[in-house]
């Protein structure tokens, strides 16, 4: 199935504004983020050494925030959209 991942701020700089990924049926939000992160040097922006989504990453799915720790428990459907945003800090 196909999912779209939209990135903002420094995640966009690393992974592009909007990417489509083909992932197996029944994949979770975590699977989709892992597919986006890949294995390049920017992967560590999104995932830690245990391949979990970093705690500061804001994951938005169907208008709601998904805690990174819960990203493995939510199965995606074809054509779903995930939004990734790093909290910004400047003032």
């Amino acid at each position: 199935m196909k999912v779209t991942i939209r990135c903002y701020a420094r995640f966009r700089d690393a992974f592009g504004e909007e990417q489509e990924r083909e992932i197996p049926e029944g994949s979770s939000i975590r699977d989709a983020v892992l597919a986006l992160a890949g294995s390049g040097p920017d992967a560590e922006l999104l995932i830690d050494a245990e391949k979990n989504i970093r705690s500061y990453v804001m994951v938005m799915y169907r208008d709601s925030r998904i805690a990174p720790a819960d990203a493995d428990t939510i199965s995606l459907s074809d054509n779903d959209l995930i939004i990734l945003f790093p909290p910004v800090s400047g003032g």
């Binding site: 903002y8 701020a9 420094r10 966009r12 504004e17 705690s55 500061y56 804001m58 938005m60 208008d63 709601s64 925030r65 805690a67 939004i83 945003f85 790093p86 909290p87 910004v88 800090s89 400047g90 003032g91």
Partner: protein, 243 residues
């Protein structure tokens, strides 16, 4: 609360009294707002709040003006480089809007100063540039039951939410741990957008107009022109707001 100068007859507020009424204008004039940060967000937020007729602005910032601030921090002029930001902000705002009383605190926010600063405020504008100070000030505001209008920016992006004690999730529910710190690039207009929205949130709250951006995080992306709203919920065992 402050009690000064507004009589309802000033032409200065004519174009907004038609929106919020004389009662609304009086509420603005009676209000004291703490503005934490006299930088990129603080410049537009303080300016629009002063121009709207807020009675008293208390501005806190321990920083001095550097040349690299001047692409966005329009309360400060080139000749003010090296001065404390709060005094420059105070002078600019009082010249622009003689109705407003501006109190300047050239101090860093810590647990003690946060409680002291919050004490007389009706609302807080979070125009800070770091999460350490944000978390301290937010917790003090939450415990005192004072609304906290959070904004933050980076590059062409910004975020905003209004935290209303007892009705919305708190800042620690939304951002449990601070994101990694690095040198922050920012386009001046990004600060203008988010800082202006913070002023709008404050005006809406004080005059009970419209609906607040509360219980949701506004994410603004200047490069695409997109705005996203992300629903937020209370976090179990939140150290700040769990009862």
């Amino acid at each position: 609360m402050n009690n000064q100068k507004f009589t309802g007859s000033s032409g200065r507020y004519e174009r907004q009294i038609s929106l919020i009424g004389s009662e609304g204008q009086k509420k603005l004039n009676d209000a004291t707002i703490l503005i934490a940060g006299a930088g990129g967000l603080g410049s537009p937020a303080a300016t629009y709040l002063a121009l709207a007729g807020i009675g008293e602005l208390v501005i806190v910032d321990d920083d001095v003006i550097q040349e690299s601030n001047l692409n966005r921090q329009f309360l400060h002029a080139t000749q003010s480089i090296g001065l404390q930001k709060v005094y420059s902000a105070q002078a600019t705002l009082e010249k622009m809007q003689p109705d407003v009383s501006v109190v300047a605190y050239p101090k860093r926010i810590d647990a003690q100063s946060a409680n002291r600063l919050i004490k007389d405020a009706d609302l807080v504008i979070d125009a800070l540039d770091n999460y350490e100070s944000r978390f301290i000030l937010h917790e003090a505001a939450w415990k005192a039951g004072i609304p906290f209008i959070h904004g933050a920016i980076e590059g062409f992006s910004g975020q905003l939410t209004s935290i209303i004690p007892k009705s919305s999730p708190c800042l620690s529910c939304l951002i449990p741990s601070a994101p990694p710190v690095g040198k922050v690039s920012v386009m001046g207009a990004t600060a203008g957008v988010i800082g202006s929205m913070q002023a709008m949130e404050a005006i809406k709250y004080l005059t009970n107009t419209g609906s607040m951006i509360s219980g949701r995080l506004l994410i603004w992306d200047g490069l695409s022109g997109r705005i996203e709203f992300m629903k937020t919920e209370k976090r179990k065992n939140c150290q700040v707001c769990s009862e």
